[in-house]
């Protein structure tokens, strides 16, 4: 399962970022979000979010020297914030630019236990769940 992006439909509102951080951390802060909208000037709004191996080679897992990123039994790639030191190696390795570091920790999508909240508030169809 992963969140598929249809970038040409994204309006750039970033509601997904605020909902993601609020759901996971109880605070609103795009910098703690596991999905981010990359804005390129007026014309491009590109949602960046992890595909959990569906189109990458788990570069983040290979890049982590601290055993802090793992694929769980359900195929979800997760970061263990206890172990993460925020070195940023995963973020640099990710071919989709879908991991970020903020205040010493890496952040990425964990699929919200199977019901991604970002998809729930995307009114434009830019995000969809692929099972």
């Amino acid at each position: 399962m992963y969140v598929k992006v249809n970038a040409d439909r994204c309006s750039g509102c970033r509601e997904c970022e605020l909902v993601c951080s609020t759901y996971h951390f109880g605070v609103s802060n795009p910098k703690r979000s596991g999905i981010r909208i990359e804005k390129r000037g007026l014309t491009e709004d590109i949602p960046r979010v992890c595909v959990h191996g569906n189109g990458c080679r788990y570069e983040c897992i290979s890049a982590c020297k601290f055993d802090a990123i793992k694929k769980d039994d359900g195929g979800i790639v997760r970061i263990d914030h206890e172990k993460c030191v925020g070195c940023g190696a995963c973020a640099r390795a990710c071919p989709l630019n879908a991991i970020w570091t903020f205040e010493g920790k890496a952040y990425k999508c964990d699929l919200c236990g199977g019901e991604p909240r970002c998809v729930k508030v995307c009114s434009q169809g830019a995000l969809e769940v692929v099972r």
Partner: protein
């Protein structure tokens, strides 16, 4: 404390100093944020006799209280200053990310005073605040400026001006993410301070009292929004969706500088025509799940390469119908230039339509216009005039002053064609057939404006909120209605919620939202009281600036009956104008000449500002 950061940042560009202050919790309770803080701090920091383009004027920026929470459509940031267009209360709301960034940097209010000697920009990186050189940005467009600063500093939000602001065009805008704080010339205030941009990086969390409940409410309102008719209409066609209806059913689409109320060539600028051809995708303000913006792209022809977020309803009027311009590509190009140069599309179109009217009536000739054939309906002339105005070249230099001052400069009876209230060019509502809006144009603290009251929808449809059976062609009983609507709308600006959500949230929707985000337990009446406080403070500011009842009047064109269409024959007489104003002042509890009695000030807890 949740949902607010509790700090005010004060920058003096003359002295090069930076100060931080705590905002007492009682101010949040009395004013909420955004518009509330603007009304409070404007009265506190700007004197009535301040030169709008002088160092004593302050530029104030305040995100709405709910900005940064996931509550949908709460993405508006308000800018304030004494207006160089009206010499009174100035404000503009903008759907850019600058407010979210400022809040995350730890500030709910930014106040900039003084004047820099050289072009500068303000860089706020959380606790660190720097005034930086901006010589390399001076002369650049809004889009270039934003991109350039983002190259220098990643991960920041920018609000900036274009050459319109630099050249002190009296209706220059402030731009953030290609969205504009449009009205009243706040961009010229930045220009006068040599402040090219404000860039902000913020890392702080926005805390909420009950985040789980906030998410529940977010999903609940999200569902209501995406299932609303407005979602379908705005999503496909943007705010111009009702343009045909405004013409065919109401006949209140001001056309050719307010000669007519129906634009005969409207089909060519109707979004039902252009959206399928030119709109590439939707564009939204921050936190907005029902985007009204359109990425409008022209791929071929002489305006090839034009790209903008638009064309919005008001601009379809101002650069379209008001100039008799039936060429959507010209309207879009002129709109793009306004955005890039940083001037207000409504006032710009108001000024061009005015000049066209003068030209057709022989008051201006080709000698005055550098050979531009300024007849109504000349698409190229509209685009050229935007250039002239932003650069202050030729006749553009006079029009950059706004129609009121331009008419005084031109003379020869030009004032009969100048459509403005207290110096501000009006938006796309022919108030001859929407009489309550005629009153709203007069009572709006920033001059002819549709958004302080937002009463156009109520007037045109006849019902909204607690009002029913409102007759747009009558001038009776409009005082309480407009006062109520102004109080209502002030809450939207204080919370930073888009007014296009007003039919959904109304005011009662905010009860649970405020409880979950801040813990404040406010009824509709509590909120209306805050709205009333805000509206009174804005008026108080205008009184300090020398506001007089006799200066508040509708333009001469409003006395001429609408010549055709569904509102044919309708106009606002002098008597109706007087009656509506009397009625409004009564409803407000003000004196007949519009002063605020001490009793009212005390009732609202704002007597400290009366001196």
């Amino acid at each position: 404390m949740t949902c607010w950061s509790g700090k005010l940042l004060y920058v003096d560009l003359s002295k090069g100093t930076v100060k931080k202050e705590d905002i007492p919790e009682k101010l949040y309770k009395a004013y909420l944020g955004g518009d509330g803080f603007g009304s409070y701090y404007m009265n506190k920091f700007v004197s009535g006799d301040a030169d709008p383009l002088g160092e004593e004027n302050a530029l104030i920026l305040a995100p709405g209280l709910l900005v940064g929470t996931p509550i949908p459509t709460a993405g508006k940031t308000e800018f304030f200053a004494k207006s160089p267009l009206t010499d009174g209360w100035g404000e503009g709301a903008c759907g850019g990310s600058i407010g979210l960034a400022l809040k995350q940097a730890g500030y709910d209010v930014l106040i900039v005073r003084g004047k820099s000697e050289k072009p500068c920009y303000l860089f706020i990186d959380n606790d660190d605040v720097e005034i930086r050189d901006a010589s390399h940005l001076w002369g650049r467009s809004t889009r270039e400026t934003e991109e350039e600063i983002k190259k220098e500093e990643n991960d920041c939000s920018v609000a900036c001006i274009g050459i319109g602001g630099e050249n002190l065009v009296r209706y220059a805008i402030i731009s953030s993410d290609d969205r504009q704080a449009g009205r009243g010339g706040l961009g010229a205030v930045m220009g006068s301070k040599k402040l090219k941009a404000i860039a902000v990086r913020g890392d702080n969390d926005i805390k909420m009292r009950d985040p789980e409940r906030v998410l529940e409410l977010t999903f609940e309102w999200y569902e209501k929004m995406v299932n609303s008719q407005a979602f379908k209409d705005d999503g496909q066609y943007g705010t111009g969706e009702f343009l045909e209806w405004m013409n065919r059913e109401r006949g209140t689409f001001p056309t050719r500088n307010w000669r007519e109320g129906v634009f005969d060539q409207r089909q060519k600028i109707d979004p039902y025509y252009w959206a399928p051809r030119y709109s590439v995708k939707n564009k939204a303000c921050p936190q907005c799940v029902k985007p009204c913006g359109k990425l409008f792209v022209i791929e071929k022809g002489k305006y090839r390469g034009t790209k903008l977020d638009g064309v919005e309803y008001e601009t379809l009027f101002s650069l379209g119908g008001n100039c008799g311009n039936p060429d959507i590509e010209s309207v879009a190009k002129a709109n793009e230039l306004c955005d890039l140069y940083g001037i207000d599309t409504i006032s710009t179109g108001g000024c061009i339509g005015f000049a066209m009217d003068l030209y057709e009536n022989g008051i201006l000739t080709k000698d005055d216009t550098d050979g531009i054939d300024l007849r109504f309906g000349n698409p190229d002339a509209v685009v050229k005039m935007v250039e002239r105005i932003a650069r202050r070249e030729g006749i553009g230099d006079i029009l950059a002053e706004g129609v009121k001052r331009a008419a005084e400069r031109i003379g020869k009876g030009a004032e009969r064609y100048a459509v403005h209230v207290r110096g501000m060019e009006p938006p796309a509502y022919d108030v001859r057939g929407i009489k309550g809006m005629g009153l709203a144009f007069m009572t709006s603290p920033r001059g002819a404006c549709h958004l302080r009251s937002g009463a156009y929808a109520l007037e045109l449809v006849g019902k909204f909120w607690k009002y029913e059976g409102v007759d747009r062609l009558s001038a009776k009983n409009k005082g309480q209605e407009i006062a109520d609507m102004e109080n209502f709308m002030a809450i939207y600006d204080a919370l930073g919620v888009c007014k296009f959500s007003r039919g959904l949230f109304l005011l009662e929707g905010f009860h649970d939202i405020l409880l979950a985000t801040t813990g404040m337990d406010y009824s509709e009446d509590d909120l209306l009281k805050i709205g009333e406080r805000i509206c009174n403070l804005k008026h108080l500011f205008n009184l300090k600036c020398g506001w007089k009842r006799e200066d508040v009047k509708l333009p001469p064109k409003i006395r001429i009956p609408i010549p055709d269409g569904p509102s044919k024959g309708s106009y606002i007489s002098e008597e109706e104008e007087r009656e509506m104003l009397d009625d409004y002042f009564r409803a407000r509890g003000w004196t007949r000449d519009g002063r605020i009695p001490d009793k009212k000030l005390r009732e609202l807890g704002i007597e400290e500002f009366a001196k």
